[in-house]
Amino acid sequence: MQSELNVIADAINSVQEVATEDVPPTANPVPLEAYLRPDVPATPLTQAEALSGAPLAEDGMFVAPRILGEE
């Protein structure tokens, strides 16, 4: 995989040829003004629905492995 990644990296280095100081960057190609959605109540997922895909659940909560490594 390393040699493949190098080949791709070379190909994408070319963009620096034209990306000069005076060119502004584009994040979203269709710029929109930020707006607030109407403040209307909506029904979110139920707890059971939200947990329906959990690898492990207990008492209505996701169960995660411990965060720290010490015994």
């Binding site: 995989m1 493949e4 990644l5 080949v7 791709i8 990296a9 190909a11 994408i12 280095n13 070319s14 963009v15 620096q16 040829e17 034209v18 990306a19 000069t20 060119v23 502004p24 960057p25 584009t26 994040a27 979203n28 190609p29 269709v30 929109l32 707006y35 959605r37 109407p38 997922l45 629905e49 939200a50 329906s52 895909g53 959990a54 690898p55 492990l56 996701f62 995660a64 492995p65 411990r66 965060i67 720290l68 490594g69």
Partner: protein
């Protein structure tokens, strides 16, 4: 009309017409497509999941409506559709063709699925794709290889190879795809079908599994231009759940497509993009393209050459922006709330971090890992400005190229894909060769402009070729008119649609 073989070859518009005349029911249509799916799937393998029972229930729900209720629905109501497995469907397993989502049944519908359900269009099932839509051949699916209906030893393109193959083999009259760098249009070209990438923000992405959020767009797959126009008007429009959704409603695309069918393009200026052609394009692809250009001229269009000098940097910019956004988006697959969880072996600390590492190692395929590595690197401190920052600047230059081109022409054209369908395995060891498949389709994603591919004929190898139409942002109707005109002119010359030349042994077995 009860002959399955005839029924499934109709366009969606023709099926809808039979529904209105009560010559068939929606249940008849779904049953016919399910028969074809049964017969074709052993070879085509376009579907990851067939949802026959729920499709029949949805068909019955339509059939039971009163005439008045039906009259209120969109024109394609009651016509079945297949869904790329990159779009979430409540109650139907959704995997993005990845082991990491295997078995996941979403608790909610994508906005486009809600709209299809409101239009009473039965969902036939979920179609195959490259894992997380990353690829151009559908070979990167974790589950199966989809065959091209034109040659079972060749790929259907990608990432939406399943949707294109399903529509191309008559397993469905319509499908939805997602297009980040060409994943709707390139499979369209390789399978002789129509594929449309709408303006960025024209169709809600809520419920489309995120790949590269500033490029992704859901769009129609069909066998005719008019069918795509009708479908895009159904799925398009504003959605408050997608912050990039355009506030204005869908453009008048159906009207434009119907106008185009009159084959009068007088007053229209068509721009040939000089940078998208020539070296690297198969002679057969170019020959069919040049003939299509002549047809456009014969219908009154004025063809001008336009230059987009920064397109040569599009592939490089795309392969910075796309993996960067992929690496960020796919971080959500952490084995915590849904999807695969693989715990480390007993001699390794049973921590959350180790669980994530083992889960991702087992759950992601090579191409997805390659892009996450590239993207993480491109976004890392010290490289961000040189790579991601530069790529965003190239994006501005490409948008400017399009702006200048659209000052000279109403619509732009190019071949969709440089080659016809290639054989399985041919490009799997050479990522860069695989990436070149999207050389002509990527600029539209970077600039957010709408683009579509329609069949332009058959190359010397007997395989379909595609021509791409590109229109200005938020003016999707502009490409539908010449596309529909060209489709009509070519079908006139061929004495029928391109699929007349397609051998369909799976349909022959249905005759009795």
């Amino acid at each position: 009309m009860t002959d399955t073989n005839e029924l499934v070859k109709l366009s969606a518009v023709q099926m809808a017409e039979l529904l209105r005349k009560k010559e068939v029911s929606s249940r008849d249509l779904v049953n016919a497509e399910l028969e074809v799916i049964d017969a074709a799937e052993p070879t085509i393998k376009a579907f990851l999941k067939v949802a026959g029972e729920t499709a029949l229930e949805q068909a019955d729900a339509f059939d039971n409506l009163s005439d008045d209720e039906k009259a209120e629905l969109p024109e394609l109501a009651g016509v079945p559709i297949a869904i790329k497995d990159m779009i979430v469907t409540k109650g139907i397993e959704t995997t993005a063709a990845s082991r990491i989502l295997e078995g996941w049944v979403p608790p909610y519908d994508a906005t486009v699925i809600e709209k299809l359900k409101a239009a009473h269009m039965p969902l036939l099932g979920k179609t195959n794709l490259d894992e997380f839509a990353q690829g151009s051949s559908t070979e990167h699916s974790a589950f199966q290889h989809t065959s091209n209906p034109w040659d079972a030893e060749r790929v259907p393109g990608g990432s939406g190879g399943g949707s294109a193959a399903a529509v191309g083999s008559f397993e469905a009259p319509l499908a939805l795809g997602t297009d980040t760098g060409g994943s709707i249009r390139q499979p369209g070209a390789l399978t002789g079908t129509v594929g449309v990438k709408p303006t960025y923000g024209g169709v809600s992405r809520f419920g489309a599994i995120a790949m590269a959020s500033s490029l992704d767009q859901i769009g129609p797959v069909s066998r005719t231009v008019l069918d795509s126009a009708l479908l895009q008007e159904i799925i398009g429009g504003h959605d408050k759940r997608d912050s990039t959704s355009i506030p204005e409603g869908p453009r008048p695309m159906v009207k434009a497509a119907r106008e185009g069918m009159n084959r009068d393009l007088k007053g229209m200026k068509v721009g040939l993009v000089e940078e998208l052609g020539g070296e690297g394009y198969q002679p057969g692809v170019e020959a069919r393209f040049n003939e299509a250009v002549k047809k456009l001229e014969e219908m009154g269009a004025e063809v001008v050459k336009v230059s987009c000098p920064h397109f040569k940097y599009a592939l490089g910019a795309y392969y910075i922006i796309m993996p960067s956004e992929v690496s960020s988006n796919l971080a959500r697959y952490d084995g915590m709330r849904y999807g695969l969880r693989v715990m480390p072996p007993a001699d390794v600390a049973q921590t959350a971090a180790n669980m994530m590492a083992y889960t991702r190692e087992a759950g992601f395929g090579d191409e997805v890992k390659r892009r996450i590595i590239l993207g993480t690197y491109a976004l890392s401190a010290g490289y961000y400005d040189a790579w991601y920052g530069s790529a965003q600047k190239v994006r501005t230059l490409i948008i400017d190229d399009f702006k200048k081109a659209f000052e000279q022409a109403d619509v732009l054209i190019s071949p969709t894909s440089p080659s016809t369908a290639f054989k399985f395995g041919e490009k799997m060891d050479d990522p860069l060769a695989m990436y070149m498949n999207d050389i002509a389709t990527i600029p539209a994603n970077l600039a957010g402009v709408p683009a579509m591919s329609i069949p332009s004929g058959l190359s010397d190898d007997g395989l379909p070729t595609g021509i791409q139409f590109i229109a200005p942002q938020q003016r999707d109707e502009v490409m539908y008119k010449p596309a529909a005109a060209l489709e009509a002119a070519l079908q006139d010359e061929w004495n029928g649609p391109i699929w007349q030349s397609l051998k369909t042994p799976w349909l022959d077995s249905l005759n009795n």
